[in-house]
């Protein structure tokens, strides 16, 4: 390539002189590759001389990888000079070849690359052994929405096969093999235009090409010296090269793959190119509008789980190489085969893979199954894990809804909602009794592992908590701090959700909060937490104690699942949940009246909004003595948390504590409450005074 460029330059110099202009038509970036990678200005033929000298200097022995990549850079520079020389009269190639792509097209297409509607760039070069397969591959690129560049014999082959070419199809037949440089100078100009890079910022440019321009090269057919040099150039730019020839692979840079689907898939994987699913292709409507839909028994065509058949759902992660994206398999009979009102065992197994996926997120994704299934018009989901219960309506079945559609819903929505952490999703649905039972046994071991892991997740064991500032739109100065042992007051976000939320949207409302130095381990105060709260409440809340209701308690937005309020007469606290409609509680206010004085980001000692499950935490009101402070709670909460509350009471050596806690059927005034507490001998009465 270098000698080609050299002889062409010498020829032009001889005929036209060093002052003759040199450049591409319709660009503001001279010779873009030279502009982007060196600080040399090229406006005339003579200016190209030092560029080629620089390129020559980059070619070194011995043949190590680093030297080969530098030779690749030399190729790029030489090819750019050669390309510019050939464009002195405009595009030198016959149609359909385009030659150099002007800035105007770059700007237009660049918007869609920034936007993500063009998810990546495929550069196909060479001459395919099997033209039909190559054409099919190019069409596949087009279907995915990639920007496609072609160079070499492929151009003719694609044209002959009737592949649609041109702007409208985002497919540019550049010209013969060396014209592939126009794909490179396109990418370099993307960095100059969209990456904010200037002349000669070579390192930044290589970084931009490698990280932002999601391009890969498919080299088809036998590779001659020029093709190899071009390949080295592409690798230098950070674009992995895929060849269908017998060549030794270079990890991360050069791969051997069969032309066709396998090459396309590998290329997309190597660059992390993901295709956005605009509409989920299922026969029923799908969206949040249907989330609240209930399917009555009389409208149910088929039912899974819910005590009528074995069912479970499980999300696990696996290495990228072990998951085939979009593989949706139904093993066993499908809905169509069951009569109205019938049931089937069901095992939903979702396997995900992603570079940023963490094992801890499996449960976060798994809990999302509930919402996703409910999004379908005619599908209803209740509970989770091995208590899951799914109904499919007559109407959905009459529209042709099958279990693979259920798999498609999960596939599409998990991709969409967890875009940043999930690269591949596969779904397997089992409906044979023996498979489901075997799967369930396996699932149970995983549930047990997760529960064991959850028990090790304690506030003391982690370095970071997570913030949630989602509610600042209406409680401007409220900051939730979500700790492993104190979930968000709305009950919707636990520590793992916060962690996943941060991975999914790094600029979003869930930010990691370094705990920092312990200020008070009983009250739950850390200097890092306080600093975060101070900053994010914009200096209105100086900090708070995570485990105290009396001394600088955490603020509340307004979304709390329940409210804790101190009953001074009883030397304890009461808990009232949002659903409680009664107007009377021992503190004199019902939930809604109380809510008015607790929310809005105010720090009100004696009152606090919390998530229901915080009552079960080992850190529950640690500063005030914990669970024994609980003197009153609604009957509904008592029933809901019953078994777990008892277990927790037993754990602290007070197995009969729960029976001593009053509810609305026992007392709704402080006097009556106190009377009851004295009668049953509630421990709060003998604890240190709260006030």
């Amino acid at each position: 390539m270098l000698s080609l460029a050299r002889s062409s330059l010498d020829y032009n110099l001889g005929r036209r002189g060093g002052d003759a202009p040199l450049g591409y038509p319709e660009t503001a970036y001279e010779l873009p590759v030279v502009f982007g990678l060196t600080d040399m200005k090229v406006r005339a033929l003579a200016d190209a001389e030092p560029v080629l000298s620089l390129a020559e200097g980059l070619i070194r022995k011995p043949p190590t990888l680093a030297n080969a990549l530098d030779a690749g850079a030399a190729t790029l520079l030489a090819a750019e000079v050669l390309g510019a020389l050939s464009h002195k009269g405009g595009n030198p190639f016959p149609p359909p070849s385009t030659g150099f792509i002007p800035d105007s097209i770059l700007r237009k297409l660049g918007i869609f690359m920034v936007d993500g509607s063009v998810p990546g760039v495929a550069v196909a070069v060479g001459k395919a052994d099997d033209p039909a397969a190559a054409a099919a591959m190019i069409r596949q690129f087009q279907e995915i929405g990639l920007l496609v560049f072609l160079a070499g014999g492929l151009v003719g082959q694609a044209e002959k096969a009737g592949v649609k070419l041109g702007d409208d199809f985002r497919t540019f037949p550049l010209g013969p093999l060396p014209a592939v440089i126009h794909a490179v100078n396109f990418a370099v100009r993307a960095g100059l235009t969209f990456g904010g890079l200037g002349r000669g910022q070579a390192d930044a440019m290589y970084g931009y090409l490698a990280n932002r321009v999601k391009a890969f090269v498919c080299a088809l057919g036998p590779l001659d010296d020029i093709a190899l040099a071009v390949a080295a150039g592409a690798m230098k730019a950070g674009f992995p090269v895929f060849t269908d020839q017998e060549l030794p692979e270079i990890p991360g840079l050069l791969f051997r793959r069969a032309a066709g689907e396998e090459m396309v898939r590998s290329g997309m994987e190597a660059r992390g190119i993901k295709v956005k699913i605009v509409k989920v292709p299922i026969p029923i409507a799908f969206g949040p509008a249907y989330e609240g839909e209930r399917i009555r028994k009389s409208d149910t065509h088929a039912e899974f789980g819910g005590g009528r058949a074995t069912a479970y759902e499980l999300v696990t992660s696996a290495p990228l190489t072990e998951v085939r994206d979009k593989e949706i398999t139904v093993v066993g009979p499908d809905i169509a085969g069951i009569p109205k009102g019938g049931t089937l065992p069901l095992g939903i197994v979702v396997t995900v893979a992603g570079n940023r996926m963490q094992k801890d997120f499996e449960s976060v994704l798994e809990r999302r199954i509930h919402r996703i299934v409910n999004y379908g018009e005619g599908t209803m989901h209740v509970a989770q894990r091995d208590t899951t219960w799914i109904r499919v309506s007559d109407e959905a079945v009459s529209r042709g809804f099958t279990l693979s559609d259920l798999g498609m819903m999960l596939y599409a929505k998990i991709h969409a909602d967890f875009e940043n952490i999930v690269d591949k999703v596969s779904v397997t649905i089992h409906t044979r009794e023996e498979d489901v039972l075997a799967g369930l046994a396996h699932a149970k071991t995983i549930y047990a592992e997760r529960d064991a892991r959850a028990r090790t997740l304690t506030d003391d064991a982690v370095e970071e908590f997570y913030s949630c500032t989602l509610c600042q739109s209406f409680a401007p100065n409220h900051v939730c701090i979500v700790a492993p042992e104190r979930l968000g007051l709305c009950g919707a976000i636990n520590w793992l959700d916060g962690k996943a939320g941060y991975e999914i949207t790094p600029t979003g409302p869930n930010q990691p909060v370094k705990k920092g130095a312990v200020l008070n381990s009983v009250k739950g105060a850390w200097d890092g937490v306080n600093a975060f709260v101070r900053e994010h409440s914009r200096n209105t809340v100086p900090g708070f104690n995570l485990y105290s209701i009396m001394d600088a308690p955490m603020t509340s937005c307004g979304c709390f699942e329940c409210i804790l309020a101190v009953i001074p007469e009883a030397n304890g606290v009461m808990a009232v949940n949002r659903e409680f409609a009664g107007a009377e509680t021992p503190c004199g206010m019902g939930f809604s009246t109380l809510a008015g004085s607790v929310g809005g980001g105010a720090q009100t000692p004696g009152f606090m909004g919390v998530g229901k499950h915080y009552l079960l935490s080992r850190k529950f009101l640690g500063a005030e003595g914990g669970l024994p402070r609980l003197v009153w709670m609604t009957k509904e909460m008592k029933e809901q948390l019953g078994a777990d509350l008892r277990a927790r009471a037993a754990e602290i050596g007070m197995p009969d504590l729960i029976d001593k806690i009053a509810d609305e059927t026992i007392a709704v005034t402080p006097d009556k409450l106190l009377e009851h507490l004295v009668k049953v001998g509630h421990p709060a009465l003998s604890m240190p005074s709260l006030l």
């Binding site: 690359m113 920034v114 990456g195 600042q472």
Partner: protein, 306 residues
Amino acid sequence: MTVAFPKQAFPGRVLEVTLPAAEGGTPVIVGGQNALPLAPEGEKHNPVAVGMEVGTGSGEIPPSLAHALGGREKDPVSLARACEDEWGASFIFLSLSGCHPDNGSQTVAMGAKLARDVLAAVRCPVIVGGCGDEEIDAKLFPAVAEAAPRPVFLSYADEKNYRLVGGAALAYGHGVVSWSPIDINMAKQINLLLSDIGVPPERILIDPLTGGLGYGLEYTYSIVERIRLAGLSGDAMLARPVLCHLGDAWKAREAVDASEPSWGDPDVRGPRWEEATGWACLAAGADLLVCRHPGNAALLRGTSWR
């Protein structure tokens, strides 16, 4: 005995942003202050900029406004000229509302042409707004960005379309108005996202969504104030000039309804409603106002108390 006024010194400073003008025109420079409005301390060398909206839609406008615009509302080019030459608008907010299916159904090409025509007709800076229909705006912004013969600001980029609008701005060297629905965290997030894709900070204005007097203005007031306090306290992503579009004031029944004679002359009431909305925005800390009534361009511009 003399009592010293307490003076608050903030560590931060609002980034200075220039809205470029055509040759011979006056660019708008806003931001650069390190203190709150109405407070005596700090440096505030850039005055508030008051621009006017030029719409392209076919929908009817309130009669009181139509009287003031002297029948020019159907001709965006001459309206824009009048805004600049007769009424002293520092910039034009060209709203390509006519591309909306409910408001004229102009084609994207037509919208882009109108933008080009208006840009040719005035010398002052221009902000170009979309029509509000997500799908159409996705085509309109790139088309306007390409058609504009000089740098403009594209309004607006939100959580959904920031990549497209940011990309269009980067491709042709325009600025971006970042929009959030009265939500300080979202305002910050959009700016973070825009800087992630490479939009330079000095080419971003914040539009926090302005509710009209009686219809959400207090929320806007609070958000603008908090954006400014956060920015001055050192949050660089919020230390950007704030643009308040007063158009919402004209949606208030109290501003336009002629069926209530006891409320007084609508020709007075309409502009007053907009003016009052504008004063509140300025007191909260807005740097740019977009008004629709010619009289208010002059009134609000004279904000010597800033």
